[in-house]
Symmetry: C2
């Protein structure tokens, strides 16, 4: 009995149309990366589990797809644990490899492993799928693509400026209106320090993050629920009340953080970056957003998030600076900064707003109708000449009914159809039918080429 074919939930097939559109997005992004001197790398889909485990928190460890060891994998498993049904502890005994969960940890592993072959600052981009055993839902997949761009081995703030330029240029080319939200982990650390809760940075930021949604009163309630002292909460109020443009926010922040060294350093870093982006005159607005925290705890400086203005979809690009990403693999004190473009969300935005240029297609431009062996032999040669002239050309492979062949051209959106029957064969000519205009002409090969080329 035949199987009913399907694919694992949360994964996708990509049709030709989807591929062409996705490639348009990827090619645009890559083109910008390259203009700024970033070079591509790729890492394997499978990493050793000890490279991946412990890097994404407890929840992340659970969401890793693990590869079953080959052969008699049970022989290495502890009988007692098997009997007890202890899946968690058995996992490590029957699985040594996992699928990559993001591109950041493999990148850190790559940099450490190949450090002697790399020139620092090392600027790389990487566009590959990643896998997470998350519950699939609309817009969230178990296999999805990340486009990461990072520079490692430099703490200069020009790198941050450059990444914002890249965001600006990518979305200008893709025609998506966005805003860049900018914050700095040092500022967040400074705030926590100033209010006397230096270890509660994350709790505080998570609460601040909800300001717009739930209002000041509820934010304060949440902070209290989390055990922050009344004194700390009251010290936080001037920060929650900050408003105005970037530079007025930063000036106010400078006063509030006057006694936090790290906080002032953060403010200073933000100022330098913003001065540069301002004088570059970018299309994209860049906004200081103190509620921006980003979950990943390896960030130590700038943090970025990019939001589309015309679609409700959350962040479509994000990243930040990390001062010790490679430390876990044995390479200390190497600072880097990077961002990740969310290819699948960008794809959704482009589709929703229908932002593809009309020439984003790789479809056939000319189809030779097939009337039989003799005609096809003639068509084969002329088709070759057409291809040499850059025209994407097919010959219908079977001597099927004319109607079927024309239907094929129509369904595939092929603009021109070439007809070679007996009379064309005898006169060494081709009849070219323009499917858009509905017109047709019988022409010499040279004129036929010209007609097709100039019509495309």
């Amino acid at each position: 009995m035949a199987q009913k074919p399907s694919i694992p939930k949360g994964t996708r097939d990509f049709s030709p149309l989807e591929m062409v559109r996705r490639n348009y997005i990827f090619d645009t992004i890559k083109g910008v990366f390259r203009m700024y001197g970033y070079m591509p790398i790729e890492t394997p889909a499978m990493e050793n589990l000890d490279t991946l485990l412990g890097k994404y928190g407890e929840e992340g460890d659970k969401l890793l797809f693990k590869i079953l060891n080959s052969g008699d994998f049970l022989s290495k498993a502890d009988k007692a644990l098997l009997e007890a049904g202890d899946s968690g502890r058995v996992t490590g005994q029957i699985s040594e490899k996992g699928l990559r969960y993001d591109l950041t940890v493999p990148f850190a592993r790559f940099v450490v492993q190949h450090q002697n072959d790399l020139t620092f600052p090392f600027k790389r981009y990487q566009i590959q799928p990643v896998w997470r055993a998350d519950r699939p839902q609309k817009g969230r997949y178990r296999e999805f693509f990340q486009c990461d761009v990072d520079v490692i081995g430099s703490d200069g703030l020009l790198n941050e400026v450059e990444l914002i330029q890249i965001v600006d240029e990518v979305y200008r080319q893709l025609n998506i209106r966005v805003v860049v939200k900018l914050n700095n982990r040092k500022v967040l650390a400074g705030i926590a320090e100033i209010i006397g809760e230096p270890n509660r940075m994350v709790d505080i930021t998570v609460a601040i993050d909800k300001l717009e949604k739930i209002g000041l009163q509820k934010v304060n309630q949440e902070l209290e629920d989390k055990g922050l002292s009344n004194e700390a909460i009251s010290k936080l109020q001037p920060i929650l009340a900050l408003s105005g443009d970037n530079f007025s926010k930063l000036n106010a922040l400078s006063s509030v953080l006057a006694y936090s060294e790290v906080g002032l350093k953060g403010v200073d870093e933000l100022k330098i970056v913003l001065n540069h982006t301002k004088s570059l005159g970018l299309n994209t607005p860049v906004e200081v957003d103190l509620t921006l925290a980003r979950g990943l705890n390896y960030y130590t400086g700038a943090i970025f998030e990019v939001k589309a203005l015309d679609v409700e979809i959350g962040s479509i690009t994000g990243g930040g600076r990390y001062d010790d990403l490679t430390g876990i693999f044995g390479l200390k004190n190497v600072s880097g900064v990077g961002i990740s473009f969310g290819a699948d969300r960008i794809f959704d935005v482009m589709n929703q707003l229908d932002l593809y240029p009309t020439d984003v297609t790789a479809a056939t431009q000319l189809l030779f109708v097939n009337f039989g062996e003799k005609e096809a032999a003639f068509a084969l040669k002329i088709a070759n000449t057409m291809r040499k002239n850059g025209i994407r050309t097919e010959i219908y492979p079977d001597g099927a009914k004319m109607k079927k062949q024309m239907n094929y051209a129509d369904k595939k959106g092929i603009r021109f159809v070439a007809i070679i029957g007996e009379s064309e064969l005898n006169s060494n000519q081709i009849t070219i039918k323009d499917m858009n205009a509905g017109t047709q002409e019988t022409l010499s090969v040279e004129n036929a080429i010209q007609t097709v080329v100039s019509g495309l």
Copy 2:
């Protein structure tokens, strides 16, 4: 303690140089595919195990990488089997997904699953990694790339002709000298039939395959060892003795196979394909090779193999016609034909023969030296202008020592270095140093652009 980073055996990291070279190969192949009207698709890395199992033989089933179910996977496993350590039978209880093993089975699954959305004949290409738990060895990897091109839903022999044209064009562009070996499964079936051993086609072909290596006598011995009758072996002798060019081989074969309908059909198919490729005047020699069998038992017509002439590396491209690939997924009587380019072997050949054009690089073309914040702010703007003129441009992100920055340019093979010091800043000029020529000039921005553009 820091981990010593490594990757699973049989997998690879690709450095920027390797990526650029591999992309050159992929882009060349894709460009040719598109010229012939093939469109890209992609399928997920993970497929359901029931899609994959049983499609690659018993050995193939073992070589599939299987994904461990998430969560409490042991709860679905049979206690008795766990206790007995029966890894084989436990596998199916704790794993439902596997990594794709080739692109052919996922393609068949794709065609059946999306049959109502596709226009037939459906011409697709697919370039993705595949995974096999093979023993890694030189030139054989556990993660490697396949580039497949197939047309499905047409039994016209023009498809075979077209695939040979594609091989010819790809290797002409890549500058690799190759020969196409051509055979037909129907001919092999005919031979088995004629010698009275219709079910021994594979044994016979495997033996014939060794003719060049071990000689006629040993081939006959092997056939005897495999249980072929003396009569069958003696009937086989005229076929083993076939020589000369394609058409004399085929003519001789026509007499030998005179009483095999399927055999004659195979000879006829070969003749039609060869007549077309001959009149097209390809660069690549196409040779009928009766010893060519190819292991995969879904082939039913033409079979191809492409060998590089200047490197000992085995087949670098291969494929054939299959009349019922989609049958297993419930779509009967759909014939197709396709070939697979072995990207990793092509990469090895290109490296060994050093066949890359000199401009295969995506490296930075211009580096702005960084003397500090004021100079960098000026450089940022001019760098933007450079990029708008198509020049891949970097600014060194830190105010490091001049020597370090020049060293960076040197190591990365950057041709031009732009120097903006105080005097340049005051005169609104740039000093451009040509690292190849060792010369330098102080120029206006416009002239600097021109110097760089014309120097590249």
